[in-house]
Symmetry: D2
Subunit: 406 residues, 4 copies
């Protein structure tokens, strides 16, 4: 990242070069809050299955920013009015849209901080930065929270065809090596348009949008909800639960990281998170992974075994099916683990458990990707002639899983 | 990584699919020693400049293994005799060639363990695994140590055109996004041949080899020895030195990681490393990064500042030039830092220091990439007609650098 | 294409290197019949819209051959029994599967030769080559005509998941630059299997197959049936019709190519084609393109205008819609062209005409892509749980088009 | 190429999308002179060895135009003053820089038209178009002929680091599949700058420039001067020579193309070319290839054999070496061919001949790629410290070849 005062060019394996060309953008990415994203993997434990998928939230944010620049250029080329201030603000909004993610992103959302999702934390951090930067993030915040009149700006940051999704699908398929997840982001961006203040795509993009939704469907089932990835992420949750259980019992448990110890013992809720925001911004994947490595040697057999399994990638086995698993089977697995590890009934719940994984291909009632036809009329992608994306794909597909020891 | 008993296919963003098709190979990659490589970045702090370059030693090992499979297929197709046992063994040797790397790889080599390089540690670990696997790694070890009669097998693992270099140049240029580092690995592999027991390349590969050496030259100066990368890596070394200095003074210093504490306090030498091999195999990038994050809050201003600078990417500035830096300049920088941070003269050495970065484009006297001509004669790449790679490139290029605070 | 006696390596921009490793394969591709495919574009007039799409049938055949090699290796790795003779034969069958294509491939099928499609001509040419090569193509011909007991070999050449389709979708999307047409051919091939003698795919490939069908759908509407491509191809047909009309009227019309003159005057039918096979094998895109260039200067205004329009890419305009065009509109366009070019009513039919373009996303009743589940049962891709590919996509989508002068 | 009045987006497999956004640019590419470039292969007979390399001069021109747009944006971003009129003009200049190429480009330069190279013909055509477009190409012509004050604009079109070279190296390596020819065009463009009115590159681009020159060196010897390509191109020249010899002897020889017949019989020289410019613009690869196909059946054994060999890719064999071939060897080959084909001594010269192929890696005295250092001083790439590109590479490498029949 060669540095000059007002311009920085960053190499990106996906898009080639990313250019940051405003001092405020450079100050934002230099901020410790932003630099923290270097230490949070974009895809949590997906690298257990796809070892190339170790890219970071920092790179994803930069990538989404890059697509935003492209999208803005296209829209301006189509005479959509966007002021310099709006342009800078929407770029800031996308750079910071994921700033509130904690360690292991979605896998631990609502676990270290209660009740509050990463988007709310992003907003809190943006507000804090806004103070630091003397109010320069005001409009970015209004765009982020959809309180800015030009709604399409918000939709570019967070909507059905936002640059966030376009980047993560593109980037995740790139780094996993799942080439089939590739979407035609450049074509979709070329086809973006604004109609009655709303972001839409031109008629010619119909097949690209279909492809985009099918790629997303594929990535969900083949990558994000892959059985092994699911197993590792659920084990991580169990590790935290066990640690808290031990703490509650008065055990002497240290993770090796002060901030993580704090969030283990006192997970803040909605009212407290703002107070502990600085501490939250010290947390990243490294605190948790190091803790797990340390706890391999903890005397508690539940905690140490779970931690050892994750560290050595000896993950719980997973089966998935369309119907719930029979209680008998669950019991059978529990009995087996009780015997193997010499555990009591309660403890076996850490090694045998069931749950649901769910995904929807496209739900027209809340997604609404709108196609603008040449004659000016607008249709949802699910309503065009001979639609591939149809009503029966609107229902979420629910799969039941069971994790158990071999 | 879908699992079956004898065959595993792994997605790789660089090569597409990597196939492991022998139970012993699967057992080796499942071993905790091997899984540790998931937590060691291939390129240490290169991601400070090239944020995509966060790939791991595990993926590099698998990639080198993949190229080995291709190379073996080519050579067998050219009637070079290779038995099934040799094939398996040379694949094992390449899978394990980097198993002895510690945290931050080359950046910390000889720092946590004294006098012993990563290759020696790789050998120790291979010997240990050999015992565990009942002697099945015997030939792999002989190949690795160049004690096996068919020398070309060793040369494939570790030589001027080994699959290790081909993978790391290919992979590092892929993940950094420095597309110019790309080499024609597939073409070079197609042109490999064995002549009098030695690995050579056919005449038609001359331009590909030139390209390979020029790419390596480019990657060194543009990536591996990039000023910012250098700065971060030298700061890491300073952090460890300061920590040891504080320990020597009797300070109460904990890294948060037991194994790292051990290696900080008692860096083993040649005679002791074998005894502490198990402990060494618990160390990875996470121990060090977490320690650095913890020490941001340490009372010692030298340690905490260095750690904060690395964590927030506020790195020391670097200048490079062909001649040593004047002592006056060094003093000037030190005076400035003494004032800024309120430090004594000795302490300023942690923030202002000089050194040398060196690289050789091609040294015919010890590299010897041999070209086999159609008529059977052999020439070094630097001796072919109209050679691009010539004598004057044999001398190492030495650059002097100075690190200092802005 | 470096030549040796038994092995040839060919650079391919899509797959890297293609290896031919049997003398018979080398003899076949060196044959003038095969070399003719250098002069037939894979995608006829698609380059009018996608200027990169000028790749040849020769390269497509080599590409399909390459995928066949990969597929055979996978199947053999899964213990499907395939003899060396069968392997060579199925490779020959795929190399020659398109040998019967004439100039502009599908665009002129049934136009220069009546009643006989390109596959029948491929068979005739294979039989002829079989005689030349002393019967060595016997099994290849039986596989090609599905008369060989191991049906899966035929299905690899010509079936729902044959390597022909995989290559042309991959290659056409590569050369057009329509990146969204990309399919996961390598993954599909890794998932191929044989069950009860039939080619199937493993359960894990479901999403890849969906993606394959959606890519095909996209390529049809976005590329193969693109309005401008359609216009150029229909104009080509009109040119030939006009030339024949002029000949029938006794005009002195020469194309500049003897073989093309012959097929213009005497298009052979089913009974005659074998007799004129040698002449057919002299025809390629160059004869027709040169003829069109020559006829730009022909005194007949219909012929010369059509030829000029194609040569200068001033193509007839096209509109497409889901319902037939009103006769009034057609008449209006014809009147306009009659006036502009000073033509009689009959002649205007060459510049204004309607037709239908049709494509089916997936028709389970005749396509039948079969998924083999782990428990051994088999389902069509349209019948799996939560199928994306469903009954309503089985009906062909029919679009009506009108071509007219601006 | 979806059409609208002022904006056209073209898919390019190399760069993704190319945007033309000015009516004049659209009018120029729609002109028959420009459309002719669809029918001229960029790489003449390179596809004999690299079957993917069938891309056209039209696509190369569009590609160079695309890089020009990027370069202009970079320079404007660095505050280099470029007016809208200059921008449009330099884009026109690059779009038309190759408009004067005839059939088979360089392979037949100075053969169909005497004494006049393709650049002079490009200029004549630009002047003609300038009249058609009412003088709108005035500045483009001044830039093209280096008569415009801002020299760097000319240097972008035609200089050591012009976008023409960057595109053809990038594109030719893409379509041949010779991945090693890839250059970092995007990085070089990002490093372009203007100093004292001259185009230069920033210091940081040194390694990229080295790589660029080494890639060019590789492409020359591995592709452009490949023995088989050379053979085909020299045979083409012989075919034209023989045809002229036969005409001179009064033979009745027709190519099937009126314009080609004309240029065969009356190759215009410097004084006549302007008069025949319209006829020249009717010529393309199709005229020649069709002629060659026709002449396979010509009664003259020299002409028919040469034409058959080219059509069926049974090319003359080539040997290359650093010294001239002995006369005895030439005689031996000629005697053999005289016997094989029953030819007289003079005729054997068409099947056995020698010549020289030459290329220079970098000649500092006439190339002068200038590096601008941070401190403002300027050095030629061959003069920087530890230069890879050095004096001994300035001398052209000359190889002697002999073509002969097997």
């Amino acid at each position: 990242m060669p540095r000059s005062e007002t311009r920085k060019i960053i190499n990106d394996p996906v898009y080639g070069f990313i250019t940051l060309d405003h001092p405020l953008l450079l100050q934002i990415i230099a901020h410790p809050y932003y630099q923290r994203l270097r230490r949070i993997h974009q895809m949590a434990f997906a690298s257990m299955v796809y070892p190339g998928a170790v890219h970071t939230r920092l790179l994803h944010s930069l990538g989404a920013y890059h697509l935003m620049c492209n999208a803005l250029n296209e829209l301006k080329g189509k005479s959509v009015e966007i002021t310099a201030e709006e342009e800078l603000s929407v770029k800031i909004a996308i750079l910071l849209h994921d700033i509130g993610h904690g360690p292991f992103s979605h896998a631990l959302e609502y676990r270290l901080v209660k009740e509050v999702g990463h988007e709310s934390i992003s907003l809190l951090i943006m507000q804090k930065l806004n103070k630091e930067f003397g109010g320069l993030l005001e409009i970015a915040i209004r765009i982020f929270t959809n309180k800015y009149p030009k709604q399409f700006l918000h939709q570019l940051v967070s909507g059905q065809l936002d640059v966030d999704r376009m980047d993560y699908l593109t980037r995740d398929s790139f780094f996993t090596g799942v080439s089939e997840g590739v979407i035609g982001y450049d074509r979709i961006i070329k086809m973006l348009t604004v109609h009655h203040g709303q972001l839409m795509v031109e008629e010619k993009a119909i097949y690209s949008i279909e492809k985009f939704l099918v790629s997303r469907r594929l990535m969900y089932w083949q990558v994000y909800l892959h059985k092994t990835v699911l197993s590792a992420e659920k084990m991580l949750v169990r590790i935290i639960e066990r640690a808290r259980e031990l703490i509650a019992k008065g055990a002497d448990l240290h993770s090796g990281s002060g901030p993580f110890d704090f969030f283990l013992k006192h997970p803040p809720g909605r009212d407290e998170i703002e107070k502990h925001l600085d501490k939250f911004c010290l947390l990243d994947d490294y605190d948790l992974t190091s803790a797990i490595k340390n706890w391999v040697f903890h005397p508690d057999p539940v905690l140490s075994n779970l931690c050892r399994f994750v560290t050595c990638r000896q993950l719980l086995k997973v089966r998935m099916q369309a119907t719930p698993f029979a209680e008998g089977l669950v019991k059978e697995y529990k009995d087996r683990v009780a015997e193997q590890l010499g555990l009591g009934d309660h403890e076996t719940n850490y090694f045998v458990f069931t749950g649901e994984a769910m995904n929807t291909t496209y739900n027209p009632s809340d997604e609404r990707i709108q196609i603008l036809f040449r004659d000016g009329h607008v249709k949802d992608i699910s309503e065009v002639d001979n639609a591939l994306i149809h009503q029966t794909l609107a229902a979420p597909v629910k799969n039941f899983y069971i994790c158990y020891m071999r």
